[in-house]
Symmetry: C2
Subunit: 335 residues, 2 copies
Amino acid sequence: MALTIRDVADAAGVSAATVSRALRGLSNVEPATRDRIVAIAREMNFSVSPAASRLATGRTGTIGIVTPFVDSWYFSQIFAGVEEVLKPFDVDLLLHTTQPRDPSGLPGAHVRMRRRVDGALVIGLAADSDELTAMSAMDMPVVLLGSRSPGMASVSIDDRLGARIAVSHLAELGHERIALISGRRLPAVFLPENDRLAGYLDVLSARQLPADKSLREIGLFTAPGGEHAMDALLSRRRPPTAVFCMSDEMAYGALRAIARAGLAVGGNKAAGEIAVIGFDNHDLSGLFDLSTVGQPVRELGRSAAQLLMSHVVGSPTTEVRIVPTDLHVRGSTTP
Amino acid sequence: MALTIRDVADAAGVSAATVSRALRGLSNVEPATRDRIVAIAREMNFSVSPAASRLATGRTGTIGIVTPFVDSWYFSQIFAGVEEVLKPFDVDLLLHTTQPRDPSGLPGAHVRMRRRVDGALVIGLAADSDELTAMSAMDMPVVLLGSRSPGMASVSIDDRLGARIAVSHLAELGHERIALISGRRLPAVFLPENDRLAGYLDVLSARQLPADKSLREIGLFTAPGGEHAMDALLSRRRPPTAVFCMSDEMAYGALRAIARAGLAVGGNKAAGEIAVIGFDNHDLSGLFDLSTVGQPVRELGRSAAQLLMSHVVGSPTTEVRIVPTDLHVRGSTTP
DNA sequence: CTGTTAGCGCGTTCAT
DNA sequence: ATGAACGCGCTAACAG
């Protein structure tokens, strides 16, 4: 049906091996014949069969991306960074989303990636995940993104430090009742959010502030979730005067809840304003005038992709890269 | 290095052919031996080589996704819908982003997809795109998403109708100077946005309203772009009293610009409120209290994926599916 | 520099 | 129901 390298060879009057060499740009081919072969091949509209090529070489020319979610701002930014770096390498991108809550017999990441990628980028999987251990159990080069695991290469921010920065900023404003809106229920070891909780507690204890558990709510990493969480916090006997949200999108919801309650947002504690800070520096946070601890998500993607490629084409690595975060002070914490 | 089907055959005391049949669940295999083989295979932790399998069968078991952008809410929602449908089919997902403005010798979508997918979902490519024509020139099954092209299967909304709904809604409020913030410069045939422009003009002409070109601005489909565009519109000698934005994110920016100008947003024209309506029903539009024409993005992804699969495993189709939009009236247009 | 030979690991005839 | 043999299209190793 489709053309084979053999057809091109016949048309060019050379052997199949020479065509293969010419098409791959190997050096041991007379430039003249190489050009001729390439010309003929494209004239015939020929392209090699990746399957055959993979079978013969053992290399797949494919990089896998494993992620638990794809419908989030975070992922889309990560992916944009990854794409940017991987583009020049001319590799295929195999995408797989793990469904956390659905062990319904569908194959997991490790089996979906197995034998079909030269390496994989694993986003946001807990370090104790079965899929992760299975992947590293095979020889597959893996780079973790957003989490860390002993003996594995990874790129992430310092979540604990980031949280400290955020909460310190609130404390500097004079706040003592600082609430926390987290994504999932914490503490849960192996999750990055747990580090953020630790950072939050670090600041409270360093400043001798009460670690009031009634000041913690879950926001599911969504705006409606954040809104709901803030509603709950505001209904406490002694509501918080400031709140740290583990994601900007939850903070958007919190802002809304505060406004609905007829309260003001801002950094002027004396005037009764509630200070709000988020985490991510989401694209829209400028619009919401939301203070936040920014993580360079796109850069995380770039860095992880680079690390993975150097692992795949070069030598194995267990490098752990920590990318710095930065504080963006906006209206939601400005006096 | 890796195990082959042969190793399993030896361990089970059968031939490689039988193992192949057993592992694929073909009927012509004694149930007892089939179970034994499967048990042994998983005990050896064996998995077949996709490359060899593809070479032998000619099928790739892979679906391609071609898209010009990946860092957008639209894409992430589309993808979530696609994923949902494709998951049970157990196919690989090959992702390729076309870079519109970068013909720098890097291979285009058609060559990246060639010989490696059984079919492709093409998102947001103009119908006159070289890559698109190239893909359909090969035998590759293609389903378009968000655009249409003669003779090709596609899933999209009725952009013209959607725009009419939005602009009619503004006109009903009594507005006569209705501005338009588009993503890219229009008119540009083959782009869905062009249909939205047409819908906008439809309403103006039906109601004998002036089609003032100074009331059209470009917003790049981003919030900052929308903000900038609205700034420009407000600085006109005779500024608009209402605005239709081709995306919600641009509308967010517009809301901000209006607020900064000290003007009010809403549906009460008599009170001098500026009416704003967007397009998409983005997740955050409820928070912004933004009226909008919603498109069921996730559903678009699902529908397109279904269509593609029926094309790939079943018979070729050129079905054109139009998914309805719906009007969401919120505070930005409520009197 | 080029051609010949021999797999890569499966799926698929054909027999039996 | 099972096995033997061949071929899928390409690359690698060895000659020359």
